[in-house]
């Protein structure tokens, strides 16, 4: 059913409440990826739910309901990060999480085929989380939506409000940066 069409108000409300509950985990995952802070992510999701409920009648069905909800969450998460920016450094200002300066990310040393135990191990997941701090919030959002959730580029572009080509550029830079940073982890893991 199209909640933005001629459906009765009660049906629109049911569709929105169903979508909010079904998408809850993914909305939180996006907020957490952008903010890298569970408290800020929870605030972003709460504010987004409130906004969605207030503006339910404004949803016109130009995108899917899920895309519309993700866009609200992304906007709230960025707003909260900006507000925090006035109070103190963002989590990604951790200098240890920064990528090597001046290097060519694409020509970083190869991972040299890490065995699955190393590639998928807990320490690598911790290293990935830390490396994600070197990305911009938009790159992290794109990385979450594309690499972790496997969403189509056009949908990610609609969520973030940018052209698909820009999404691909951000994704490319994010992938190369993470490859470079995790390469150091894998080299340490082999010694």
């Amino acid at each position: 059913m199209d909640p933005g069409g001629a459906a009765p108000e009660t049906s629109r409300r049911e569709a929105l409440s169903k979508a909010l509950l079904e998408e809850g985990d993914r909305l939180y995952a996006l907020a957490l990826r952008v903010t890298r802070d569970p408290d800020l992510a929870a605030d972003a999701v709460q504010e987004a739910f409130a906004t969605a409920l207030e503006r339910e009648s404004g949803f016109r069905g130009e995108s899917s309901l899920a895309t519309w909800l993700h866009r609200i969450v992304f906007t709230k998460a960025i707003d909260l990060l900006r507000r925090r920016g006035r109070e103190g450094p963002l989590p990604e200002d951790d200098p240890e999480a920064r990528p090597p300066q001046g290097g060519d990310m694409g020509r970083a040393p190869s991972w040299a085929r890490p065995p699955d135990a190393l590639l998928l191990g807990k320490e690598t997941r911790v290293a990935l989380e830390k490396a994600l701090g070197a990305l911009t919030p938009a790159q992290r959002a794109i990385f979450e939506l594309k690499e972790a959730e496997g969403r189509p580029t056009e949908e990610v572009a609609a969520i973030l409000g940018m052209p698909p080509g820009t999404v691909r550029v951000h994704l490319h830079r994010a992938r190369l940066k993470l490859r470079s940073l995790l390469g150091e982890h894998f080299r340490r893991g082999r010694t």
């Binding site: 929870a42 085929r113 994704l171 490319h172 490859r179 995790l182």
Partner: protein, 77 residues
């Protein structure tokens, strides 16, 4: 195709966003160039690592608060 050009195009290639002739050039380059094929394999491993990570869940207390809020909203007049 040079290694630098392949590097710039690799994500578009993986996305299926390039015309067939460029895709063929990239496949051919990857077959013959060890550093680029290693890069391509690393990015595939990175994607696999991300897919294997457990996605975060909405905290239970937050889910409960949101459900109560939605219930109140759907039942109001």
């Amino acid at each position: 195709m040079s290694c630098d050009e392949l590097l710039r195009r690799l994500t578009e290639f993986a996305e299926g966003a390039l015309p067939p002739n460029l895709c063929e050039e990239i496949r051919s380059h990857l077959k013959d160039c060890s550093p680029c094929s290693e890069l391509d394999r690393d990015l595939a491993d990175l994607a696999r690592l991300c897919r294997e990570c457990d996605p975060p869940k909405l905290p239970a207390d937050l889910r409960q608060r949101l459900e109560e809020r939605i219930r109140a909203w759907t039942t109001r007049g």
